[in-house]
Each structure stands twice: as C-alpha cells, then as structure tokens.
Symmetry: C2
Subunit: 346 residues, 2 copies
C-alpha cells in the first residue's frame, strides 16, 4: 500500500525531509541554525548584500499535477526562484520551503519534490534551511523563499538601461509557452514528456551562473529574467528605466522546434518567441561596445547562446518591431496577469 502523508503526519514528514536533506543535500556555509528550532539562522558574509525573493507555484495554475513528475516539479519551483537571484547577479545560498499539501499525497512524491529542490541547490552549495508544511483541501502549493548573495555594489537592476544600449537575450525564449500548449492539447501522451519544448516548460534551465558572471563583469546596465515573456519582461526594463526598445524581428533567436511549429502553424517566428512564456532566460542591456565582452564573460561559464536583438530608445515605454525591410510596428506588450481574464489559463 502506498504510504500517504496522513499515515505519517506533519511531524513524521518533517523528520523524513530532515533525513533526506542531510543525506542528499549540501550543508551551506554560514548556516548557524537549521531545521528544528523556531527559526533558521545565518551569519552573513562581510562585503556581500543579500538578495531575497519568493515565488509560489499553485497546482492547476502554474503546473499541471498529472503532467509533471514530482522531482521536476521540485526542480521547477526552485528554478523560478534561483532565476530571480541570478537576474540580479547573485548566487543562491539558502532556501525556505512552504508547502500546502493534501493528506492523501504519497510521501514518496513529496520526497521526490525535495529531491528536485536539492538537485537545483547542490551545485551552488545552497541549502534548504527551513520551511513550513500545512494542509490544503484543494490548491496544492509550493512557496519558496530563496536568499542569495551578491558582492556589494554588483547588483544589476531593471532600472539602468540607457538609450543606445544594446538588448541581449540568453537562450531561446518562447519555448516554455510552446511546450505548455503541447501539453494542453495532448495530455494523455506520456512520450510527449521528453519533447524538448515540453521539457523547456516542465524543467526550464535557470541562468544564475550566467547572471552572476554578467553582474561581476560590471558591464550590463539592466537585467531581468523572463518569467512572463520576452516582450512583457523587456517592458518592465523599459518602464523602470524610463526608456523604449526597438527589436529586430530577424535577430530574435528561434530554436529548431519552435521554427518547425512556426512553419506548421504559419505564425511568424518572432511572435512565437516573444509571447507570454516563462522561460527563465535573461534579458540584459549594455553599451554597444561591451556586447562582445559580455558574450565572452558568459562563455566562461556556459554554452548558452547570447543574442543581441535590438536597441534601447529614448521614448519611454514605446516598443517596436523592426522588420528586415526597415518597416516599423508598435508593440503592445502583454504578460501574465493572474487575475485578468487572459491569465485564467496560466
């Protein structure tokens, strides 16, 4: 018989998680108190700022429980937070995990979710140092707070983009959205799980190593991760920096599987790549003469492609597509809004 959460109870689960973390997790430097007291405690390092972020995945909204393996769910929930730390130029160090669970969940599934957390944290020497477990009737959630470190003065914000700066993006945005579409259309096909676009959705990479390298180079003027979509997140940079952006349609990086979809469905590739999508790639800006040095810096830690896709313009909030023939078209960016009608399906 499958062991359920109700069989071992809250304290039984906490014990099991504690054992799992000790066996499979990393013990991070600077932790002075772990799970088992009223709070965790850390000793901050001199010369570093701490970055703090929290992001929550809710079943049916941010993930489809039957369509993602528990370990991948854990990886994804941790990745979305690690990505935020990376987009500031930091490295994740500590995580707190708050779970809303149903009593009939198999304990092995919950342990696998934690294996996903540990898988993402271990490369950074980062650790789950605390958390909370509570019971829900319907909406299972995974709410994670990650604390990262960045050298004093090295954070890269959304607000530093200047007219004339180049706009760069890592990897191939838009893939997660295409993967989600595929899952929605054919939910029963198990083999679909290994499709690269579906993988881009269920188990997206983060670019924290790249972000940290970019930040420590001191060359980027603004940076953000793509959690809403290429256009929506670039719009955040424009808004916070008080600038606009011209994007060249033929410079937007298109992955092979996305190109195929664009041909099959007769959609222009730059539209597929830039729509609402949570890819956790980075968008950054820098002066034109620093583009190569940034690409080199990223190349030291990663094989990920870095593409320059456009230029920052002076007109606040105005974003445009520039076509290969010079035609210009205004863009009205749309990202996810969880409470608007458009956000209903996320």
């Amino acid at each position: 018989m499958t062991e359920k959460l109700a069989d071992i109870g809250e304290f039984g689960l906490i014990h099991r998680i504690d054992v799992l973390l000790k066996q499979e997790g990393f013990q991070a430097e600077g932790v002075t108190l772990r799970i088992g007291d009223d709070t965790a405690a850390i000793q901050p390092r001199e010369g570093f700022e701490l970055l703090i972020t929290c992001d929550c995945l809710v079943a049916g909204r941010h993930f489809l429980p039957g369509l993602i393996k528990p370990r991948d769910l854990g990886r994804r929930a941790m990745t979305v937070n690690i990505s935020d730390i990376g987009a500031m130029g930091g490295i994740p160090r500590y995580a707190l995990v708050s779970l809303g669970l149903k009593s009939d969940m198999p304990v092995a599934e919950i342990e696998d979710i934690y294996r996903g957390f540990v898988f993402e944290l271990n490369p950074f020497g980062a650790e789950v140092i605390g958390g909370n477990i509570t019971k829900v009737e319907q909406d299972i959630f995974i709410d994670i707070t990650v604390i990262g470190e960045v050298e004093n003065g090295k954070t890269v914000r959304r607000s530093g983009a200047r007219p004339g700066d180049m706009i760069l993006v890592t990897g191939y945005p838009g893939q997660a959205a295409a993967g989600l579409d595929m899952l929605r259309k054919t939910t029963s096909d198990e083999s679909l799980y290994s499709h690269p676009l579906v993988q881009a959705y269920v188990s997206p990479p983060h670019r924290a190593w790249e972000g940290q390298k970019i930040a420590s180079s001191g060359l980027a003027t603004a940076m953000i991760d793509i959690s809403d979509g290429l256009l929506a997140d670039l719009a955040h940079i424009c808004s916070e920096s008080g600038v606009g952006a011209d994007l060249e349609t033929n410079k937007i990086p298109v992955s092979k599987p996305l190109k195929k979809i664009s041909e099959q469905e007769n959609i222009q590739p730059h539209l597929l790549c830039s729509k609402e999508s949570d890819d956790y790639e980075l968008i950054l800006t820098c002066p034109p003469h620093e583009v190569e040095r940034i690409k080199e810096a990223v190349g030291q830690v990663s094989d990920v492609k870095v593409s320059d896709i456009g230029i920052i313009t002076p007109e606040r909030g105005r974003m445009r597509w520039i076509f290969f023939d010079g035609l210009r078209q205004d863009i009205t960016p749309k990202g996810w809004d969880h409470f608007s009608k458009r956000g209903e399906n996320k």
Copy 2:
C-alpha cells in the same frame, strides 16, 4: 459596487500595495532594494546573525474567514512569524508576503490585511520588502517569511535546558484555544468578537520585545514560543535538550476568563491552560537563581506576567504534573498535527 481583485488585476494590486506600504509603512534601515525588481536586497549589519522563519495561514484551517476582520487576519499572520523571531531572541526587520487570493476578493479587504501587517511591523521599524501574489480557487493563504536580527552569540535555542533549570512562561497560555472554541460554538454572534478569549485567538500578542530582552540578558538556557500548546511546545524543549519536566498544577497562570470557563465546564484549570492552543507566549528555562533577574529584564519592556511553573528534570522526554498534595502524574503531550485526525479541525 465593491471593487474586486479581478477588476484591477495582479499588477493593479501590486501597485496599490506599493502605495499603501509607502504611505503607512516604515522604511527599514539596511534595505537596498524594495518591491519592483527581481528580488529585494538588504545590507546585513556587522555583528548580527540573521534569523529566518516562514509560517503560513490557510483559510478554514488557521483562520475562519467570516470570523476574523481582514486587518486582524493580517496582524495575526504577521504575529505568528514575529513570535518565532522573538522566541530566538531576535527583532524582526524584513518581511516577504506571499498571498494566494481569489479573484472575487474585495480589494479593500486585501489592503486591510496589509494594514494589519504594517501595524505589527512598524513598532520594530520593520518593512515588507517583497512578496508574491497568486490566484487560488479555494484555499486562500497568507505565507510570510520574516527575517530578523540578533546580536552574534545571543540566540536562545530549544536545546539548552539543563536539569534543575526553572521553567517560566509569559502571559496566560490556553486562552487562544478557549477563544477558538467560543467562535466555533456561536459563529453568528458579532459581539463575541470583542470577548477577551476570542481576541486572544484572532489577534494574539507576540512577545518579541520580551524575547529579545531575555536573550540579550544571556540568562535563559532555552526558549520557544507557544504555537502548538504549553505542553506540546515544552515537549519540544525537552526533546531537543534531552531532558524532562515537572510542572506544578497550581503554578500554571490562569486568566480570569479561563477560570470562569473552568468552573462552568468543571475542567481543572491547568488542563485548560496547557492544551493545544496557539497563544504565542514564550516558554523559557533558566537556572533557579536567575529567575528574578529574568523577570526584572522582562519588566523593563513589558507588563506581561512571567510565571515559574516547574522544573527541568534529567529523564529525557518524561513530563509530569505535580499536584499541590505532591501527587505526580505522567503527561503525554499532544500538539497540533495538521495531517493527523486530531489536527483536522485546526
């Protein structure tokens, strides 16, 4: 027409919260980046450890939506976290708030929840520096991470109690449970809301100022806050310290309203005071000759009563009631377990 969350959307709500926090909240020292970027950022102070805790309230489980005013709900959600920081001897400095909300919630109610947060944080010069908002279908939740500060070496853990130490408790434990019982029995009576026992449940005090004073005195050997009940939380100290406890029934502090209930329902007062209850009072231990100095230390910041209720014993995990006639009775402590059958009603 009442303005609903669906009317203004996620980004509309974030803007409103940002404005509210700027107008009514405190801007904490050491915050280098607030709401509006990928993460918040802080510059830790030299000579201090950081304490980090997260605690989540779920509707129907930790609060009864129709029976608690939104501002009180916000106060309570923040208090349970502040209490954890206080139980380690720290002072809260920064909070991140992750909310799971339904689209049909009135915006004014959500703002009132934030007013509750701010009400609890402002006295500490503490600030909401970040968070997350997501949509749920059924289980509204408030998940808060609080980061506090404590001078290096001054944390008080659960694990330091030694045989012969006195056991002290602040305030009057058990009141929150009695208040919850009253709410459950007569849910429609609005006047019930101001009853002191109901208030102890919906809007419990925290003892962070007292905890900080106790910790900085260096006199306490162990400390914990009562989130499960006097016995259940004392059992955590016993377990972590590898000791036992003898409690004197006639030394357990009984508030007037609890005394009345004990008479009406013919229950021994020490049982009413020690059962499952989330009172957010402190339990602490110290050598017998330090009891008065600890009471004096607390007296410098608070009028709260501090009672010595028993003594730490060598036998690991054995807890006993000592009656006035010397009779001894073994205790099997029971606290909340969210996934056990007993926890179903919490």
